[in-house]
Symmetry: C2
Subunit: 469 residues, 2 copies
């Protein structure tokens, strides 16, 4: 069937109701369209003028209107930018991130500050921030789940070597860079060790979701390189969050004595979650009773929020609690109740993430990266270090483990995708005062550039060295 | 297979990873559990004491913690109450509504006001309210979609009669009651006509989602009574929202002159949505290009929010805009992209509705229904009128249209389910100052009682008169 034929059939079908009964349809329209209009006209003509309640209810009403309009604006811009990104061969999330940046002071704040003020008053920002927080903890739940999912994959030769190398090489280089950058770009927390650990993390992150998308698009998902990179990304991200926890504890530590009991509670909760809670959940999800996906997803979201909230209350970042709950939630089995719920949770996270990108964009002004020679050097050095450390760290290990040269290079390029995960890491570090603002903005740019490079890089590699496998 | 056997197999299966490789699993645990703990311990022991950033970031952090804990608390209580309701043979949503009421001043505010104040500070309420607003507009989108879905069902003999009668009889009785109630229970808007229209609506609402659930549980979904009641409920709800629009316009009207252009914009938008937008959406959704469910649901949510926000900005209630967008969104076809997205949107709405119940509970104190003789009379009269008008209005018409006496009674009991839709109607009316607080609380109680009666009523009917069909 050609495309034209397909679109012809489609044109006839959506109005399937036409066949069912034209009269009924017309009746439906009359009732549903004409009546509200007529009703409103009569009502307004009859309206005797101003009344007290109207004025009283007005401000609450207009704030709801602004919230809804702002939410739809954020989603629409994200959708448009995502479609644009897909059209030029980039992952959708790149477009969505850029949309968030564009709605912040970097672009909209420059072009039309009054639009920005009107669309995002403080009350609305608080509301949108709640949506962003929910989206973000659900995203981090997904990061934890990836590790649970790859745990069942067979470990082949070279997996461990590649995983270690693709994490440790960038991490070591990042930590070493800290010596050079500390004096000028240290954050307000004043913690050189936290700064070094954080820089190591920020070079060694690989974004699992973006990587999976790129692999799917290039048809590499089932190839050895693909499996290898996904495994290394999931395990590496896990290690990153561990190090990040330590760095945050260092940066926000208020003296050891005060924190001991919090730490014990956190350790206890983590053990509970990964032990009895995990077993109990698995029994419920795979048990004989069928629960509707709505109930299971509510349970899942409630658990994520509880774990995240508790961790935040203990002074450890909420996303670490969400990550731990992602590890605790048992992997979905074909027979169980969990699969549809996990899909829903991922959809909700994807739907709400544009609000995080908005918050991210609002918190960051690309103009802070002054266009001095110094700023350019910082950016260039970080970009080169990030790319080289990942390509060499992962690629060389892959070559040693028996990949061909082309495959090894492919692996290195794949592992250089930092995407969304890196942005989350950066915003946490900046918020906690671990890194300075200029370094933060530079690392955001590095993230965007390295993520954008992955697709074109792989395509270029295919043109230069056609695959033999 | 017995239950014990089933649970045994389940015990073995969720840990399928065990078979894949025990060593790998142990390694995973060591990396993922031990390391963060060790890292934190080292970090905290090394921490040199207080720092500036920690204090600065503290208030923002604790507000996020409270938001997440409050959200998880609301979801957990809703989940528990829903499970409890299901166990005693009630729809889950009844439990969720009661959970919302319990978290408000009626119960938690009485028992532990300090818990309530700690869990729901103003900032957190603003955030949760954003979640509730999103849930509510998505729910109203679903109400509109039901009408689109029933449009394709075959109209059988008696459908029109039953639909009209089950809407008009309670509506007429409700309007008549207004004469008696106006003096004492009129709202602050001071609009007798709006009050009368509103009372008519509040008696004639039938909650489609709860009805569908009850029908499924009783195995009546495909029976003639079931199809009849769903059709009548969907069309009746549509009519209700039309009348409600008029009542709201009356109550909040600020003089005809000022509102004319707003009305024109609303009529124009509605026509646009139901005309070109609907056709365009149908072409996209059923077209040859496959979009991921995430993209389609984002499009859907953005559209709902835009339509709702625009309507709210025009001074008409946001839920009416969401309802209109529900009418405009084309029904899902098997071949199209829309089905998974609609499921996701319904799941999100279901997930977020507990936050609406919370807001509802926070806005209402059951103690306002003073236990005087007068309050009891009001409650009893409304309860009898609501039940009788629905049972007679729908049942008699069903009998005339050829149902057996038992089936007609069944139909009448089914149509008496008011559930969630009625709560939404009531909260809008109360907010706009159409009805007084005491009447509002009484109608909420009537809603809960009539909804709770449906299941037991039908079961009782089956015991008394075993079905012959």
């Amino acid at each position: 069937m050609s495309l034209t034929e397909a679109s012809k059939t489609t044109d006839a079908d959506p109005d399937g109701g036409r066949r069912v009964g034209r009269r009924q349809r017309v009746l439906g329209y009359v009732v549903l369209v004409a009546l509200p209009v007529v009703g409103c006209v009569i009502a307004l003509v009859a309206a005797p003028g101003g009344s007290g309640a109207a004025a009283a209810g007005h401000s609450a009403k207009s704030s709801t209107a602004t919230l809804l309009l702002a939410a739809s604006g954020v989603l629409a811009v994200a959708l448009g930018a995502g479609a644009l990104a897909a059209r030029i061969g980039q992952p959708r999330v790149m477009g969505e991130i850029c949309a968030g940046l564009a709605l912040g002071p970097s672009v909209l704040g420059e072009l039309g500050p009054e639009v920005s003020d009107w669309l995002f008053p403080p009350d609305v920002v608080t509301g949108l921030d709640a949506l962003a927080q929910l989206g973000l903890v659900l995203f981090m739940f997904g990061v934890g789940q990836e590790l649970v999912q790859v745990q069942q994959s067979r470990i082949e030769r070279g997996f461990t070597l590649v995983t270690l190398s693709s994490f440790l090489v960038p991490f070591a280089i990042g930590t070493a860079t800290a010596l050079w950058l500390w004096d000028e770009h240290g954050g307000s927390a004043g913690e050189p060790l936290a700064f070094a650990l954080f820089l190591g993390c920020s070079l060694s992150v690989t974004a699992f979701p973006v990587l999976a998308r790129v692999l799917t698009e290039l048809g590499l998902l089932k190839s050895r390189t693909g499996r290898l990179s996904l495994y290394a990304a999931a395990v590496g991200d896990g290690a990153c969050w561990v190090v990040l926890t330590a760095a945050l504890a260092l940066a926000t530590g208020e003296g050891a004595g005060d924190q001991w009991w919090k730490l014990l509670v956190f350790a206890g909760t983590t053990a509970m979650l990964l032990g009895p809670v995990r077993t109990g959940l698995a029994r419920v999800l795979d048990g004989p009773v069928r629960y509707s996906p709505a109930v299971v997803s509510t349970l899942c979201v409630a658990g994520v929020a509880a774990s995240a909230g508790l961790t935040a209350a203990l002074g450890i970042h909420q996303l670490i609690g969400a990550f731990v709950f992602g590890l605790a939630w048992p992997r979905a089995t074909k027979r169980g109740n969990g699969e549809a719920a996990l899909t829903s949770v991922a959809t909700i996270a994807g739907l709400l993430l544009p609000f995080f990108f908005l918050g991210f964009g609002l918190s960051l002004d690309l103009g802070d990266l002054s266009l001095s020679a110094e700023g350019a050097v910082l950016l260039a050095v970080l970009l080169v270090l990030a790319t080289v450390s990942k390509v060499v760290g992962a690629g060389l290990a892959g070559y040693v483990a028996g990949l061909s040269r082309t495959q090894a290079l492919e692996l290195g390029i794949l592992m250089n995708t930092r995407g969304l995960t890196e942005l989350v890491v950066l915003s946490i570090g900046h918020e906690a005062g671990v890194i300075g603002t200029q370094l933060f903005v530079a690392l955001v740019v590095v993230t965007l550039v390295t993520t954008a490079m992955t697709g074109p890089g792989l395509r270029l590699l295919r043109v230069l060295r056609p695959a033999k496998t």
